[in-house]
């Protein structure tokens, strides 16, 4: 009798209901994320493409696809590294100003001393670009900056240039345009995230710091930033993963060609090239796996380096 009571007591644990309630997420995750991921890795070891209307493969080829990705071409460049470099440059050019500006705006908007009026209005306006489809936004820039577009017409009319400038043919200007678009589209989103983070900090901290005679800069670096760190790390990591997967803006702006000289071709655009006419799932799979490894590695690195000095 006593024994029975004991087991019954042990049995009253509500933890399992917790597990059951989070089960749907895990099932979704397994079906829609984990399985495709494993399938991608599996596919990357096969030769599997279409030649016209004829299907070739799938034949197991081991690491051949990976070796092909890292084999230098005739000019000695390794495609994969070049496109990874492009992606990182494009991301940094957009993400650094994005986070700096967003941080500044978030501090201004939340500062009780500035007490900016019409916050709701400004928040809506800076978030607005994010609501436009990236492809439409890109198309708009393509038209504005084309050789016969309005920017060139203005430059010609004002006599600033003699011949229309081919903005989409110059490496630097294409990269600036892509970064600018990404910046415009995402800084509002980041601002709102960071504002929420700052508002979550106890107001007494700021007041206490001020009573102690801290300047605005000191408050920012000694109080706001450390307490904001978890949100900031989250923002940087999500921005980075988004950046590594950059696709729509450069794809539409350069019509999928990554002009000039494939200098604005990102890794996902490269992947997409293999999924077009050739339906080359082997090579595309290999690129995806590498992309996954890079994302994972960089995320650990960023998380580690940003949280290190604030630990303890």
């Amino acid at each position: 009798m006593g024994n029975k009571l004991k087991t019954r007591k042990k049995g009253i644990s509500y933890a399992k209901w917790g597990y059951i309630f989070i089960l749907p997420f895990f099932i979704t995750y397994i079906i829609f994320t984990l399985t495709p991921q494993i399938m991608t890795i599996y596919n990357s070891f096969f030769e599997n493409y279409r030649n016209g209307l004829k299907q070739v493969g799938p034949n197991f080829v081991g690491l051949k696809n990976y070796i092909a990705l890292f084999t230098p071409d005739k000019t000695g460049t390794i495609g994969m590294l070049k496109y990874f470099g492009n992606t990182m440059i494009l991301w940094l050019m957009g993400a650094v100003p994005q986070i700096v500006v967003a941080l500044l705006l978030a501090v201004f908007f939340t500062s009780y001393r500035l007490n900016i009026k019409g916050q709701q209005f400004f928040k809506t306006v800076i978030y607005m670009p994010n609501l436009i489809m990236a492809a439409a936004f890109s198309m708009l820039f393509f038209t504005i900056f084309s050789t016969v577009g309005p920017i060139n017409q203005i430059l010609l009319a004002k006599g600033i240039v003699e011949k229309s400038v081919n903005f989409l043919g110059i490496k630097v200007s294409v990269r600036i345009l892509i970064s600018l678009m990404n910046f415009l589209m995402w800084f509002g989103n980041t601002t709102i995230l960071l504002m929420a983070g700052i508002q979550g900090i106890d107001q007494n901290m700021f007041e206490a710091a001020e009573i102690d005679g801290a300047s605005s800069l000191q408050v920012f670096f000694r109080v706001t930033l450390p307490l904001l760190m978890p949100i900031l790390v989250y923002t940087v990591i999500t921005a980075m993963i988004g950046g590594l997967q950059m696709f729509d803006v450069p794809q539409v702006l350069t019509n999928g060609k990554g002009t000039p000289d494939r200098a604005s071709m990102t890794m996902v655009m490269y992947l997409n090239n293999y999924l077009g006419t050739s339906k080359n799932f082997g090579m595309a799979g290999a690129i995806s796996v590498i992309l996954f490894l890079i994302s994972a590695g960089l995320s650990f690195f960023v998380y580690g380096s940003l949280t290190k000095q604030y630990k303890k």
């Binding site: 099932i27 979704t28 209307l53 070739v56 000019t75 043919g169 000289d261 080359n280």
Partner: protein
């Protein structure tokens, strides 16, 4: 009891989730279904007729109630609407008034049209009758890929048997290796030199087609005139790729040989050489591709470009700016053969295997190639050069027939004289990618953005991404 309820709730949640997953899959087929739905409900008689078609066990399935037509632009669809299809409440039907025509249009850029079409053809065997491709259009650059595949069918078996009035190359193009004809073209596309009369007068001193032809009948003469035009403030052509077809059509070797190796024909090398000079000296617009706005802007009356190259479809379908009532210059144009005989493009109607509307397919094919009345209308109303020699001969000899756009010149007579020189040879299934990617990548070289080696290397990369089997140099 509590436990039971909790378990039940959890199960319901899991079930709901699975149901969601399942519904996304069926969701995919939903749009196609709904598209075909109106055809059944809108016309009353259709409702009853469609009933037997629904049961799949029927031994001889009735004709499908949706006619799926795959195309990359509106050109042919316009003709179909004008001479064959009937309109009802804003939708288009076959003449039976029951079968709805579903136009599936995908632009051909970057192989997008072929990708869409390939997916549909590969799924053709398992597709429901109303989702089957019934007729698709193909262009010279990739027609071989479909003609030689098992996804197209012998049209003589479905009732298109008379090829006697068609130009020989249009039949060859749509045939497989064994000479089985899989499709027909409603147009013949000898490509002419289309020039601005006013500019020719200024540069060459004449605008008479015969005299202009004698002054521009070789590439040497053409290149020399380009320099004269430049001196007078004109462009010879308006795109770096303008002269690509006259060269590439005269290649004596295919792009890819039997060992799958990419090879450059002398004609292609000659084009590169000429374009280098043209771009360097400003004889043409290096920034403009063949379909780009800077080139199209040159077609306005205030344009400064003397020469364009193109077949009948080009000046009647693609030179809208020149035909603009206010800014255009109708009548200030004329055509002659130019430095090299060639053809460009052309639209073939192909019969896919497994169509459930074979009768209609044959009817359309015969209508646009062998029906004298419709072919005549193509010539007179649509300014086409039809694929019916008898009809073309009639207009070529008609002294009263002339094009207002060409200042009264009779284009049919000019094109008829050119047809003998058109050959269908040295084509591969890779041609579209080879031609398009070569132009795209070399443009950056012509613009001075990259050196030649880099541009060619990027060309090889682009080709390998599309066709891993091609061995590049």
């Amino acid at each position: 009891m509590k436990k039971l309820i909790a378990l039940l709730l959890a199960l319901v949640m899991v079930f709901a989730l699975c149901a969601c997953g399942a519904s996304t899959e069926t969701g995919k087929t939903e749009p196609a279904k709904t598209e075909s739905e109106p055809a059944k409900t809108e016309s009353e008689p259709a409702k009853t007729e469609s009933e037997p078609a629904k049961t799949e066990s029927e031994p001889a399935p009735a004709e499908g109630k949706v006619f799926n037509l795959y195309a990359w632009n509106e050109e042919f669809i316009g003709f179909l609407k004008a001479y064959y299809a009937v309109e009802k409440d804003g939708d288009w039907y076959l003449p039976d008034g029951v079968t709805k025509i579903n136009f599936v249009i995908t632009p051909s850029d970057n192989g997008a049209y072929q990708q869409k079409l390939d997916e549909a053809l590969l799924a053709q065997a398992d597709a429901a009758d109303n989702d089957k491709v019934d007729l698709f259009l193909a262009e010279a650059d990739y027609i071989q890929k479909y003609a030689e595949s098992e996804y197209t069918q012998d049209i003589t078996a479905i009732g298109v048997t008379d090829f006697s009035n068609m130009y020989k190359y249009t039949v060859q193009a749509a045939s497989d290796e064994n000479g089985v004809v899989k499709g027909v073209s409603f147009q013949c596309c000898p490509s002419a030199l289309i020039y601005r009369r006013s500019i020719a007068k200024d540069v060459l001193g004449t605008d008479d087609p015969a005299e202009v032809q004698s002054l521009l009948d070789s590439w040497d003469k053409f290149n020399a005139v380009a320099a004269d035009a430049k001196e007078k403030g004109y462009y010879m052509t308006a795109s770096f790729a303008e002269t690509y077809r006259p060269f590439s059509n005269n290649c004596t070797t295919p792009w890819v040989n039997e060992n799958n190796e990419l090879q450059f024909d002398d004609q292609i090398l000659a084009w590169i050489e000429q374009t280098e000079v043209f771009c360097e000296n400003g004889y043409t617009l290096a920034d403009s591709g063949i379909w780009d706005q800077p080139k199209n802007d040159q077609m306005f009356a205030d344009g400064k470009t003397m020469c364009f190259f193109g077949p009948a479809w080009y000046f009647n379908f693609c030179m809208g700016n020149a035909q603009d009532p206010e800014k255009g210059c109708i009548g200030d144009w004329a055509i002659c053969e130019g430095p090299a005989a060639h053809f460009w493009g052309g639209t073939w109607m192909m019969a896919p295997a497994g169509t459930d509307n074979a009768e209609a397919v044959a009817e359309i094919m015969n209508l646009f190639t062998n029906n004298e009345e419709v072919c005549s209308k193509l010539v007179t109303e649509q300014a086409q050069f039809s694929n019916n020699m008898a009809v073309n001969a009639k207009y070529a000899e008609d002294p009263n027939f002339g094009s207002e756009f060409l200042g009264g010149q009779n284009p049919v007579a000019v094109f008829s004289a050119m047809t003998d020189n058109i050959k269908w040879e040295n084509h591969t299934i890779y041609d579209q990618a080879c031609n398009e990617d070569l132009q795209n990548n070399l443009q950056q070289y012509f613009q001075g953005l990259v050196d030649k080696e880099t541009a060619l290397n990027n060309y090889y990369l682009a080709l390998q991404e599309k066709y891993p089997e091609i061995v590049t140099p």
